[in-house]
Symmetry: D2
Subunit: 464 residues, 4 copies
């Protein structure tokens, strides 16, 4: 169930360069709409006209959804053939308009617009070092640290790509960057490949996006994933690539496959729908249940529930109706009305579940509050038993690379055994997919699974 | 697929009377949220404090969704223990704030607040007769005609119920009314039962609502459907019922079962989910297909697709991802971008459909534009064949009772044979459920099926 | 000083009919801007296209100033060549959008749009009588009572003018009405002439307005005042006038000349600026003072101060600077900051007043709070003495005809002698203009001076 | 007449430090309201709590008037006892929210908030030099250049004051700065004294403001003007002052005395009202006229008109009524309605001017369009003759220090003789005050009169 009791991905980025000189603002708009699941807090678009004087860039940002922040007249005013966009959920920096992206600044070579997904673990140190050299900061974001460092390096380098590479060698963490310099569109992916970024093409336009679904939304075809550590530079003259940072080990974020990425995206060679379906199927083998129907928690548990149903032979059924009109601006029930809170967003289909033994599949449990409420609802509607199956391992460790997860205290698995959780949520049985079983769903792709096993792919200097 | 190429239901109504004197505005808000699928154009709430002087009623209306129009401070200002609410999609009257409901007026006995779902076929005649007697009208709605008539009758009757009954005897059409007189909550359902209305109870509160799902959303239990022709009057002293108009034939709107009502509602003894599932199952028997997977058009075709899959033994699969962030305020693509329009809201899951023979189930076809686009998308993603199955009969005739349907010219089935439609939408085969097969899904319940066979349950004075 | 401690006029009305068929919405907008001083709470415009079917009328209303409520696109949507407008400060009815005017309704002959300035003393009785006949009311305004009565009379009369005359014979109080029936613009003034209304002409357009300044603002010339009791009907065929109610005694509201009307208006033969200047001059003769400079309270006391200065020979000087940016939406100072409140809107010009003996002229005193604060400010800035001169008599009685005045308890003059008021406001001397002296400023024009002497021009059924 | 055909001052600044720890946001609000005449385009407030960790600063900015941008809840969220505010009319930088002030940034010592009135003539050069060193710019304002330079200097200085002094030695132009460093309030005035800044005190609070009227609006007393070139640093420990840049020649902006400053301010020892009155009196001596009445153009010409009337013995009279409701958001008349445009804001008092020979006084003429329109209005109302008298010399040269003046082409005096202007505006006679006569109104105060004589007080590198 989206928005409740799930980790949150920080951001989505999108960039496009139309060599034929056509306006790109609407394409960025549609691309950001397709990436909206990666951040609903703020969004922004910056567009440059490469035929004009350097630095002639328009931009607009706002708090809220892409469809709330941008109207036709705003898009029309964003003239140009090179642009980037961003959707954001704040993990660092205040949740305010000031910190919304893209960050649009002026430096020695004209405009520098930057959109950033991810989190640096050495941002504070870099910032302090820059301040000690007399640098002013206007925001509290990691992104401004990156932009400042690029501007400083640019004084000493022959190209902006070189300044970006030098900067990338200094920053540590997970990141995908899309940068518009006056006449170049540049993409960067962190050396571990923690954050996704891919390349697409539509006619004579090239596109960079966090997920392939955004390419399809603008009618572009997927070309390839950007390599971990790669710096790609797109100009009408050439699509250049620097792979000097590409040789190290990789560690793709496992949660993209479990929950973040959109069902219809393909990421580093893996179809997201397939991965989730296969995880459900593996779960059916590892943790069978004696039941009449398999149901998924909408919407995140549905694909794994299909996999579980297919592998187990138990029929899939819809247990919940989701009210698509209950959105972010909905008035939350008071303390007294609290117990019925989930019922506003999700309602049980009583005739489906009454008298049934149910396998209830979800992709993950964070606090456990939502799944507990759903089990109560199913039982009140007459379900005989509810067997919870989670298509990922127990969530035990925090993330330092841009995924927002509650503190350890709130992670139910960090202080409770599976049996204790089962009792707490009043399920008739509970099983998680093991890490090893889970990995099989993505084949041989190297993953960062630190949230499950605590083995971080770099020294994270955990805050005490 | 909601909002595209479907008939539109006019309205949803909700009323509540808390005998313990508790504030009811928040309950109406949650009830209207649960009925939001019945009208997204405007909404309103009117609340009365029965302990105060007669006629002390607060109300607030606005254009847009319930969650957009009402904020916490607005609800707090609507003090009282008796209230009604309304969600609207205009079928008669302008689409403007002025015509939003509830209609709140003052008459000889104090306030008269009225919320109305449906359409009268003799409204113009009644209105002209009232104007000829010197009556002023402030809106262009049928609802004001009803309220005026009640006020006029009330001068000569002992009770408001009697005035309402006299009014009901004069109006013709489909309607469900919820009325708050200073200290009474009154519900009325048209004698044919075209429009739904049901009664619920929560503690010492009684509730009237268009659908049972709204009862559940406020934690109330379903008591019974209001009878066609019944006038129910709720006061702390008694729940009184007049059934003098209940003896005629019945004709429940068939489209509630096909599309309008929410999946988790129960209406006149029929579970909506069951009805749609059974329609899909019947369709599998009547129109089998040689296919690898069964898919539903989100969200309206999903339950029938489950039924089809279960009855045929062909596995169900998710073919489309629906972007829940693409809402009403979304900027529509330009002419040039038009072809990709549906791809913004719905995207194909290519790995699921590639190389597959697909049964694509939907509940109805109006213009045929959306299904045609979806078939193109499936084929482009590699589907080998697409067999369209519609879980209702071809849509041939207009509705005069409050359902908004395009004119005959736009109803593809009114000018094309099934074979022609199949060719037009480029499906590999196309089949509809027959009227007789469809009726089996609702047992012996008498239905108005005029949109399919043209046999209207009353003389409708079709406009020339 | 506007907005503080003054009686409030209820409303301003404006109507225009362009026989050449040109759009009139912008002219109404400019006319209402010129009448904005008569009501800042809400405003509205209703426009009809007489070449279209009867009743095709657009209207828009909102809370706030004309320039806030109307934007270019709103005016453009109000198409038509016949229209009326209204600015309002509520004296009866809630201060809400619902009660904003013009009131636009439909009756037997099509649309009936009505804008009303004034107050009826028998509105409650008329309303009760109508309710007893089964009439519904949508608002709590007198205006709706008038419109209902017109609609009812219209059933039995040959023309709308006759229905209006019959209605006017029933309503009692002060009123000016501007009415747009589908193809007629009609004006009505109460038989006593309590409320003003005048006629203007621009090319082939005729205009009705509360004040002549609104005629000038749209480039029209003043033709004449509408007579007390006159019903004027404007159509392309003729300008017809019914004077059957014109024969009784007259009683023009004295406060229009003292404070309400705009300085550049001419009303019933009197130039407003002249009247106020002459009142100041009369005051100088009746209540001389030994002083160095004469100052006026901005803006209402300035013309009388000029008159006082001219008659006395004491030079006029500007004592206060008025901050024109401190408007209605200004955040009021807290209790602690209260003492400095007036200083935000008005500031003393210290070099002007320091060491001076000052005559401070204002047009009236209601509560006395503002004048007291201004005297403190002058003394703090070094004024040696402050002699207050009021260019009207003491305010002693409430008004029942649409002027908003605080209750008797708050009228300082109703419970204090002039000496006591002088002491309370810490003035060095205080004098009012006598009623007789005041009347001289308007020549022989018959006035309603009930607020000064309690002699109401009709039986007002004072509420107990 | 404000807003029409006048030069525009760039900005107003305000700062306050309450040593008793009381909240200051409301005081800044009232102070900015009093300075609103210096800029109506955007405004902002930044507040710091000196008892909290360094850098804990809240700020809010917006487009529009102070009373539009700030509401009670916004002010409440701006907690702290040290703060600054700004009202802006853009002279450099785009007119956008991004460029609104105060500029709030973080540097090595925590927050640095800066509000700036004025214009630098070497900003572009300083900016280019900083960019060449790798500095990023977020805005297009001079203010960011100043803040960047302070941050860079601060790395090498012992105190922030020293960094500010070093910065002040590099920037050239007219400026008044109010800066809040985490626990200091600092004011700076340019060495020539082109821009005003003064110091006030209220209880245990110290205040810096562009004009003394802002001190009075918050109940503070005026202490002294900040000296040209002075850097004043306010902390609970001491009020320190650096005067190392105070020894050069001075050149106060003459237009503050003519038009910019508020009537009730005192600036560098001169009462603004007195200066303008005396200019009018001098004009009467230098350019007498045979007339019946003296009138001023509201509001800017009124004080000089009083002076002219007093010196000439010709009585002052009010010729125009100004509609205070016609504000910035007013819909401008179309081309066709253009001729009547000024009549909406200003209306002639016909009985005052009819048949009269009039002296019409204004403070300056820029384009001449407004005065021409006013003369037409007076003549149409029956004035026999209109003798225009301008209480300043002809406006001939552009300003480079932050005053917005139309280009030379639009300055009517730069291409027309006084006789030609008189003919163009259709006046019966026209006279300006000479520079020498004008200077007498401010005694011995050294003025920058470059706009009249072209002698700039520094090398301005005029753009070609």
């Amino acid at each position: 169930m989206e928005h409740f009791d799930k980790p949150k991905e920080a951001c989505g980025v999108f960039g496009i360069y139309d060599f034929d000189g056509n306006a790109v603002a609407h394409s960025i708009y549609y691309g950001l709409c397709a990436l909206q699941h990666r951040g609903q807090e703020s969004c922004g678009i910056a567009v440059s006209d490469t035929s004009g004087p350097k630095g002639n860039i328009g931009n607009h940002k706002g708090m809220g959804l892409v469809s709330e922040v941008f109207k036709e007249d705003t898009l029309r005013r964003l003239c140009g053939n090179l642009g980037i966009g961003h959707v954001r959920y704040s993990t660092t920096g205040d949740s305010s308009l000031k910190n919304a992206q893209p960050l649009v600044t002026n430096y020695i070579k004209g405009t520098l617009a930057l959109a950033h997904n991810g989190n640096l673990i050495n941002a504070a140190a870099l910032r302090a070092a820059l301040e000690a050299q007399g640098v002013l900061f206007h925001t509290t974001t990691d992104s401004e640290v990156i932009a400042c460092e690029i501007a400083r390096q640019r004084v000493h380098t022959a190209t902006v790509e070189e300044a970006i590479i030098r900067t990338a060698r200094q920053i540590r963490g997970g990141y995908a960057l899309v940068i518009a310099s006056p006449r170049k569109l540049i993409g960067v992916r962190d050396p571990l490949g923690l954050k996704p970024l891919c390349l697409g093409k539509r006619g004579n336009s090239y596109i960079l996006a966090s997920e392939s679904c955004a390419l399809h939304s603008v009618g572009a075809e997927f070309i390839r994933d950007i390599l971990p550590g790669e710096v790609i530079s797109i100009t009408p003259k050439e699509i250049a690539s620097d792979r000097s940072m590409c040789c190290g080990p990789k560690a793709h974020c496992i949660f993209e496959y479990i929950y973040f990425a959109r069902l219809d995206s393909r990421m580093d060679g893996i179809n997201i729908y397939d991965a989730r379906f296969r995880a459900g199927a593996a779960l059916a083998g590892a943790a069978p249940a004696d039941a009449d129907i398999v149901c998924g928690v909408p919407d995140s548990g549905i694909p794994a529930a299909f996999g579980y149903a297919a592998a187990s032979g138990i029929p899939f059924a819809i247990a919940f109706h989701k009210n698509s009109y209950v959105g972010r601006t909905f008035i939350k029930p008071t303390q007294k009305e609290r117990e019925t809170s989930v019922a506003l967003k999700l309602n049980v289909l009583k005739p489906v579940v009454e008298g049934k033994r149910i396998v209830l599949v979800d992709d993950s449990i964070v606090r456990g509050t939502t799944i507990a409420r759903l089990i109560v609802m199913l039982k009140e509607a007459g379900a005989r038993s509810v067997h919870v199956r989670i298509s990922s391992p127990p969530f035990l460790y925090p993330c330092y690379f841009g995924t927002d997860i509650p503190s350890n205290k709130q992670l139910i698995a960090s202080s409770h055994s599976t049996e204790e959780i089962c009792a707490a949520i009043k399920a008739d049985s509970l099983a998680y997919l093991s890490i090893d079983d889970f990995e099989s769903m993505v084949g041989t792709l190297p993953l960062c699974r630190a949230c499950f096993d605590g083995h971080y792919p770099m020294d994270v200097n955990k805050p005490s």
